[in-house]
């Protein structure tokens, strides 16, 4: 089975959802015209990233009653869509979320579980922490979504893998930093390295959709990528440019790679559980959350 992806590496207007929605609808149509099965948008693609006190003003609920999601769900009739947004739950907690939409239904919503609150980041001040990382079934097989800092930690991708995800969809609004002699920033190098490693270690597809543009002095670098289960690069979007990058996944590659390299078959989950229980119950354990 083959699935054609379209990575919508876009810039956003900070805090103006209607304008960003318009861009989403245009890109979705464009992806559809190219025969894509699934179009991906970056983290917080409906709002922009450094929202600070704008958070409550740009929040939405992923349901048909919500005017923004009504349009996006309608656009998902013939093409699946992932979209990044600020989610407000019934008790008015705000999350950085990504929704997977298909056939006019919300298939899955992932709430970012790791909120970077250090250095230039201040997410923990404005957002609530998501509490689950679960894989979900799509018409193209089982997938998992993570948002930026989620996959800077090793455990969320690992949990998705155990939960059955074969295609990892990673969304980012990653501010570039670390200018050295190298042709790309340290952040870009780091993200590419770990995504390649995840694809290899989990013998899975790893798709990363990053945004571009500027917010004040911050620069979002783009360079979205797709890796196959052998850890080979299938597609890479240019740095700094808005693009729609198309990439076809041959899902049979999961079979090809895993027949050769049965890392998933041999993963000793019960051992992991035993050791986790032992480590976490130990006095003075560093585990907190």
């Amino acid at each position: 089975m083959k699935v054609k992806l379209a990575l919508a590496q876009i810039n956003t207007t900070l805090g103006v959802v209607e304008k960003n929605l318009e861009k989403h609808l245009t890109r979705i149509k464009e992806a559809e015209a190219h025969g894509a099965d699934l179009v991906l948008f970056p983290e917080l693609s409906l709002t922009g990233y450094v929202l600070q006190d704008l958070v409550p003003a740009v929040a939405h609920k992923p349901s048909l009653e919500d005017p923004v999601f009504k349009e996006l769900l309608s656009a998902s009739r013939n093409i699946d869509i992932t979209v990044g947004f600020v989610e407000e739950d019934v008790r008015s907690r705000f999350f950085i979320s990504s929704a997977y939409l298909s056939r006019e239904k919300v298939v899955h919503v992932h709430r970012k579980v790791y909120l970077p609150t250090y250095g230039l980041f201040d997410e923990g001040r404005f957002f609530a922490w998501g509490d689950t990382t679960s894989a979900f079934d799509t018409r193209f097989g089982r997938m998992g979504m993570l948002i930026c800092e989620d996959f800077w930690h090793i455990s969320p991708p690992y949990l998705l893998w155990l939960d059955g995800a074969d295609v990892f969809l990673f969304m980012s609004a990653s501010p570039g930093r670390g200018l050295t002699e190298a042709p790309q920033l340290s952040t870009a190098h780091w993200v590419e390295s770990i995504n390649r490693a995840y694809a290899s270690i989990f013998t899975s597809f790893v798709v990363h959709c990053n945004r571009v543009g500027y917010e004040d002095g911050l620069h979002f670098w783009g360079g979205s990528t797709v890796y196959n289960p052998d850890g080979e690069l299938l597609a890479k979007a240019p740095l700094q440019q808005e693009t729609l990058t198309l990439c076809e996944l041959n899902l049979n590659d999961l079979h090809h790679t895993r027949a050769r390299l049965p890392l998933l078959r041999d993963e000793r989950t019960a051992l992991v559980q035993r050791e986790m229980n032992r480590i976490l119950s130990r006095d003075g354990s560093a585990s907190g959350r």
């Binding site: 207007t13 900070l14 805090g15 103006v16 450094v50 600070q52 006190d53 704008l54 570039g176 200018l179 050295t180 002699e181 190298a182 042709p183 790309q184 920033l185 543009g213 500027y214 917010e215 004040d216 002095g217 620069h219 740095l239 700094q240």
Partner: protein, 273 residues
């Protein structure tokens, strides 16, 4: 240890993108900057011209009566090379209007007055030319506080403020800025023979390496000494960075209400764009 070498192609594309983004999203298409004849403003000018087109950049030369002819000539080289629009507005008359009232005025006060006269001139041209004022201060001088508050540090945005002087030189080479500008001794040009390095008491090459360890790599002062820098030098620089922090932040507002600008009224400047 302190490798300050940068990829100049990457820096160039990020910085020109930044100038274009910050200018256009604010509703402008043009920029204004002061061109001193030195390397920092030359670099800002090259980047702005590349980002916006030479015809959309106004470079203003603002000599005081003691400024050297060489500075004016070097600024002209930049104007000719980048195709920017230009204007020369001497500040002698406006600066002396205040300076002459105080016969015993020291050079610090005079220098500050000149820097602020230039700021007034640029912000006036900002309205006349309908362009934003582009900053020309580098990371070294920002960290050392070697600027005049509300003077040369005043701008709408600053493309080169995260580049140490050493990196400004590297990027300037890559952009083919005339060698005579890149290699000359940096000076505020307030009096004949004045140089930054003479006034500061150390070279940019040395202080950049130290600042890189202390700021970027988060070394403690003690670790900087262990890394081979003289203790006195480390102490002088660390003290400067702390002492001049006030020049790098907005003035604090006394908090009284539940929501106060600067503390819990938080929006980016690019809000809504």
């Amino acid at each position: 240890m302190s490798d300050l070498t940068i990829n100049t192609d990457l820096a160039r594309s990020i910085l020109t993108g930044f100038i274009h983004s910050e200018t256009t999203r604010a509703g402008f298409s043009k920029a204004v900057l002061g061109l001193s004849g030195g390397i920092d403003s030359a670099l800002s000018c090259y980047l702005a011209a590349e980002a916006l087109g030479g015809e959309n950049v106004l470079a203003v030369r603002m000599p005081y009566k003691t400024s050297s002819q060489e500075s004016l000539d070097h600024a002209q080289l930049v104007i000719d090379a980048t195709g920017v629009q230009s204007m020369t507005i001497p500040i002698t008359e406006m600066a002396d209007g205040l300076i002459n009232k105080f016969p015993d005025m020291n050079s610090l006060r005079k220098g500050n007055i000149m820097a602020r006269c230039r700021m007034i001139t640029l912000y006036d041209q900002s309205v006349a030319f309908n362009g934003l004022v582009v900053g020309t201060g580098n990371k070294t001088e920002i960290l050392l506080g070697y600027t005049t508050l509300f003077g040369d540090s005043a701008c709408a945005f600053n493309p080169i403020g995260d580049l140490y002087k050493t990196q400004v030189r590297q990027l300037s080479h890559a952009l083919c800025i005339p060698e005579v500008i890149v290699s000359k001794a940096p000076t505020a040009d307030l009096w004949a023979g004045q140089t930054d390095e003479g006034e500061l008491g150390f070279t940019y090459a040395d202080v950049d390496k130290l600042l890189y360890l202390y700021v970027d790599e988060r070394y403690t002062p003690e670790e900087c000494v262990e890394a081979g820098f003289e203790r006195k030098f480390v102490e002088t620089v660390v003290a400067r960075v702390r002492r001049f922090h006030f020049k790098r932040v907005m003035p604090p507002i006394a908090k009284l209400s539940n929501r106060t600008v600067g503390y819990d009224f938080l929006y980016l400047r690019d809000w809504g764009t």
